[in-house]
């Protein structure tokens, strides 16, 4: 009986598994194949050639990878710190207001990311909303607030806030109130409750939120292009350039593979740590 159910389950999962393999795995394999293609030879039937990876190291593309990862890390850390109190309030304090807040945050997703970022460009640029007003009132202007690394991180924080906020609120909702009260009764300070009770019990939500934000930020391109100008070139930008202007598909594919490998390793490590079963309520 058990064996039959098992076989049936496999059978039912087959179409989705096939679809996932085709739509998720196939492009990655294709990119991997491109990355070991000799330059200026548009065929995948050839001897593997790893010169594109050599170029990645020699031409200093690792700097773009480092910038992308560092800014993604910074944005994720900032998002965690600013979203924790808000998510806590959504899960435990606000009652009806949580819905209002949820709708408000989700509404921003209805407008395209690029349009929202252009809004910030108009706000922050020289002669824009902020600098223009200050110059009008004080008589002295400055260069505007765009085209630097902090403003790119700001853009990442702004765009990916919902991806941190909702998983965190979900995670915090899993922390039982009586466990917090019991810890307090047993002599724990607020910080000790946060460290000993809330953070470990909300860990699945924290992990999901941080992974989403980190992975999305590491592959982000619009923030650095629109807000950052040429302050730094992120890796996604390099990939795009290699495929378009550069017409160097093997290089673009190799850069993409490096990013996929790094981000994928971090994601798999994170998912293995997070208790996703607890997150969707199968236990407790």
């Amino acid at each position: 009986m058990k064996g039959r159910e098992h076989r049936l389950g496999m059978l039912y999962a087959l179409p989705v598994a096939g679809f996932l393999a085709l739509s998720f795995l196939a492009p990655i394999l294709l990119v991997a194949a491109f990355s070991i293609m000799p330059q200026k030879v548009f065929t995948i039937f050839h001897m593997p050639d790893f010169s594109a990876y050599g170029e990645f190291l020699a031409q200093g593309y690792w700097r773009s990878v480092a910038w992308s990862l560092a800014m993604a890390f910074a944005a994720t850390a900032i998002l965690f710190v600013i979203c924790w109190p808000l998510a806590f309030a959504m899960a435990k304090v606000f009652r009806g207001f949580t819905l209002v807040l949820t709708i408000g945050v989700v509404m921003t997703l209805f407008v395209s990311e690029n349009i929202r970022l252009f809004g910030w460009v108009l706000t922050l640029m020289k002669g824009g909303l902020i600098e223009g007003h200050i110059r009008h009132w004080t008589g002295t202007g400055f260069d505007g607030l765009l085209y630097n690394v902090p403003v790119i991180v700001f853009g990442l924080v702004y765009v990916y806030l919902p991806f941190m906020l909702f998983p965190l609120a979900q995670g915090i909702a899993m922390v039982p109130d009586d466990a917090r009260q019991a810890a307090f009764d047993l002599g724990a300070s607020r910080w000790q409750i946060l460290r000993e009770i809330e953070l470990p019990l909300a860990a699945p939500g924290i992990m999901v939120g941080c992974l989403l934000c980190f992975v999305l930020s590491a592959g982000a391109i619009a923030e650095s292009k629109l807000l950052g100008g040429q302050a730094v070139i992120v890796i996604a930008d390099e990939v795009e350039t290699a495929f378009t202007y550069g017409q160097n598909w093997p290089l673009g594919a190799a850069l993409a593979m490096v990013l996929i490998a790094i981000v994928g390793a971090i994601a798999i490590w994170g998912i293995s740590k997070a208790d996703l079963d607890a997150m969707i309520g199968r236990r407790r």
Binding site: D178, Q181, F184, D185, L186, G187, A188, L201
Partner: protein, 348 residues
């Protein structure tokens, strides 16, 4: 310590908006005492215990611990702790880590922590291997013991309990009641136990405080509450009882001799079902009544009878099951008891 009570409440009150949960309450708890606070749900006993441990602020009055005022101290700074109704064990920590939690907060070295945790496991009769067990691998009774061990690791001046046994099945509850009583004697700590079950309170406690609608009705040892309740609420709460309002005359009762005393004082006369006996044709008692049997219930060693009096009032009597031919439903008979076996509740 001597005459300073370990815990004292002076006019403690609590109101939520326009609802008064606790009217001014006074209470003194002796050092090493096992006090049970009993009341029906909604009487304010949970609010009271939350005030006592510091999870709610009182609206008025004060709480004193060994002569020191504690009601303005937050719960995490008070030397008391509580075993929650839900137990509130930490699901992400092992049994050992749960027990060591209060010690870890105080920066006790790990070796000393573990030693104490193993001592407490032994005290609560849990095997040493449980130290590494996960909470979700423990049964209900084992979790109770872990929660108790964790509270004892805190080494509180007073240990509060918020109905921790209410979720367990009957037999386990009975076992744990006796264990708790035993633990109280071995540790010598002051226990304040909240429950809605009078039975539980009577098995375990030295004194019982009966609460009703935000007030203490009576605070006394179980035997005294049983024999001399101060209100009809307490009398009825303590179990099956017959109450006769004597303020408008003796009604169904025939009072003679010492029984006449009750007629001169207004109040409610309490007669326990087991105090009543069947009177023979020529027999008389200080308090007597005629009644008709309406139903009989088997209670094991005793029989319980539901009877109706001439006025239509229903009463209960319990008799030992000595002879097979006891009264049957429909029989008319006379019941009586001695005046000394009854108790007059003055307030009525």
């Amino acid at each position: 310590m001597g005459d300073i009570p370990i815990l004292q409440l002076n006019g403690l009150t609590k109101s939520f908006d326009d609802f008064t949960a606790l009217h001014p309450m006074d209470l003194k708890v002796r050092d090493g005492e096992f006090l049970a606070i009993v009341g029906p749900s909604g009487c304010g006993k949970t609010t009271l215990i939350r005030l006592l441990v510091g999870m709610e602020d009182p609206s008025g009055g004060s709480i004193w611990l060994r002569g020191e005022r504690i009601d303005e101290i937050p719960a995490n700074k008070r030397p008391t702790c509580m075993v929650f109704q839900s137990l509130a064990l930490f699901p992400h920590r092992s049994v050992g880590q749960n027990i060591e939690f209060p010690l870890k907060l105080r920066k006790t070295p790990p070796a000393a922590r573990k030693e104490r945790a193993l001592e407490l496991l032994a005290l609560l009769r849990l095997p040493e291997e449980y130290y590494h067990k996960r909470i979700d691998q423990c049964s209900g009774g084992e979790r109770q013991r872990v929660a108790l061990a964790r509270a004892l690791a805190f080494d509180p001046e007073i240990l509060f309990f918020d109905e921790p046994l209410s979720a367990l099945d009957y037999r386990l509850r009975k076992t744990l009641e006796k264990e708790l009583r035993d633990l109280h004697q071995r540790t010598g700590k002051t226990f304040v136990y909240i429950t809605h079950s009078l039975e539980e309170a009577m098995v375990m406690s030295d004194r019982i405080a009966i609460m009703r609608a935000g007030r203490f009705e009576q605070i006394a040892p179980a035997a005294e509450i049983y024999a001399r309740p101060t209100s009809s609420f307490v009398a009825e709460f303590m179990g099956e009882v017959n109450l006769f309002d004597l303020r408008d005359g003796s009604g169904d009762l025939l009072l003679t001799g010492a029984g006449n005393e009750f007629a001169t004082r207004p109040g409610t006369l309490m007669i326990r079902p087991e105090s009543l006996r069947i009177l023979g044709p020529d027999e008389n008692a200080e308090i007597s009544m005629s009644a008709q049997v309406s139903a009989e219930y088997m209670l094991g060693s005793r029989m319980q009878y539901a009877l109706s009096l001439p006025s239509g009032k229903a009463i209960t009597a319990e008799l030992l099951r000595e002879n097979a031919d006891g009264p049957k439903p429909g029989d008319s008979l006379r019941l009586g008891c001695a005046a000394s076996a009854c108790h007059l509740i003055p307030e009525g």
